[in-house]
Amino acid sequence: MNTALPNALTPASLSLYGASVPSRLLLGTALYPSPKVMTDAVKAAGASIVTVSVRRESARAKSGMGFFELVRNLNVRIMPNTAGCRTPREAIATAHMARELFGTDWVKLEVIGNDDTLQPDLFGLLEAARALIGEGFKVFPYTTEDLIAAERLREAGCEVLMPWAAPIGTGRGLANPYALRSLRTYFPDTPLIIDAGIGAPSHAAAAMEMGFDAVLLNTAVARAADPVRMASAFAAAIAAGRAAFEAGLMQMRDTATPSTPVAGTPFFGLDKS
C-alpha cells in the first residue's frame, strides 16, 4: 500500500485466487534505465505484485539469479509471464520453468497470435489455460475484451481475467471503452485487471472509474523521463479512480441542469413585470 495516499483514497482490498492484494497497481520489471530505478519505481508505485519472465541464460553472464535476488528483496508477490510464447506448448513449458524458478504457481499467461499487434491468440490461450489449471497453476490470462473468450476462460477455471486496453507498449489507453464496459458488466464478480496499452495516469484512472479491479503497467512507467515519479503519479490516479468508482459516479446527462438553486435567484421574474 502506498502510505503517501490520503485515507479517503485507500481502496477496498482486492482478492486474487484467495490472496489479499493491498495495491491495485501491478508493475512490470522490464525496460527501466537501471535496476535501482526499477526497485525505486516499485516502491513509489506501492505495488504488491510485480511481473517477471524467464529467458535463455547465458553461460558467460549468468545474470538470472542476481535479478531474482533483486526482485525477491522487494518483498512483493512475483508473477512470472509467458511473454513471447506463440503456441500453447511453448507457453505451458515456459509456465512450468517459471514455476520451478520462482517458486510460485501464479502465471500471467500470454499466447501471442500476431507479431505486429502482440494480440493474444485466444484459441491457444484457452488451450494453455485449461492445461495449466489442470496442473495446479493459478492462471492470469492476458486476453482481449472478447466476451466469449472471457466466458470460456472462466469456465476453464481462470478466477481472474486480464483484458488489454490496447496493444502492448502502445500507450494508447482504452482503445475500446464500450467493449471493456460490457466485459465489466458481464462479469461483475470476476476480478478484471487491465493489462497492456495504458500510457497515462488518466487512462488508468478511467479504467478504475469503470470498475476494473486493478491495472498492470510497465512501459508507461519504465519509459517515462522520471519513472519513479511516474510510478507515484499512476498510484495516485489508480487510487483516485478506484475511490471514485466506490463512491459512485453521477449519471451523465444530455441536458444542462443548474447546480446553484434556482429558487431565490435575484431579479427573477422582474423582466415580466
Partner: protein, 67 residues
C-alpha cells in the same frame, strides 16, 4: 562419446550423457536454471535420469525482467 545438441538455439558438442550433466557442463548451478528438452519441461529432479540424444534441443532459462 560426443553428442551434438542445441542449447538455447546454439549447436554445441558435449560429452554429457544426461541433462543434469549438460547443465553442470555449462557451469550453471542446479537451481540456477530451469530446463526443457525438445519443447517439454524437465523438472530439476528429473534431469539426472533424462538421457541426451543427438540433435536434442535443450532450453536453459533463468529469471529475467518482464512486463
Amino acid at each position: 562419446m560426443q553428442l551434438k545438441v542445441f542449447v538455447n538455439g546454439e549447436a554445441t558438442v558435449t560429452t554429457a550423457t544426461t541433462l543434469a550433466e549438460l547443465v553442470a557442463e555449462f557451469g550453471f548451478a542446479e537451481a540456477g536454471v530451469a530446463t526443457a528438452l525438445n519443447g517439454d519441461f524437465v523438472p530439476r529432479g528429473a534431469r539426472q535420469r533424462t538421457p541426451l540424444a543427438g540433435d536434442d534441443k535443450v532450453e536453459m532459462v533463468s529469471p529475467r525482467q518482464g512486463g
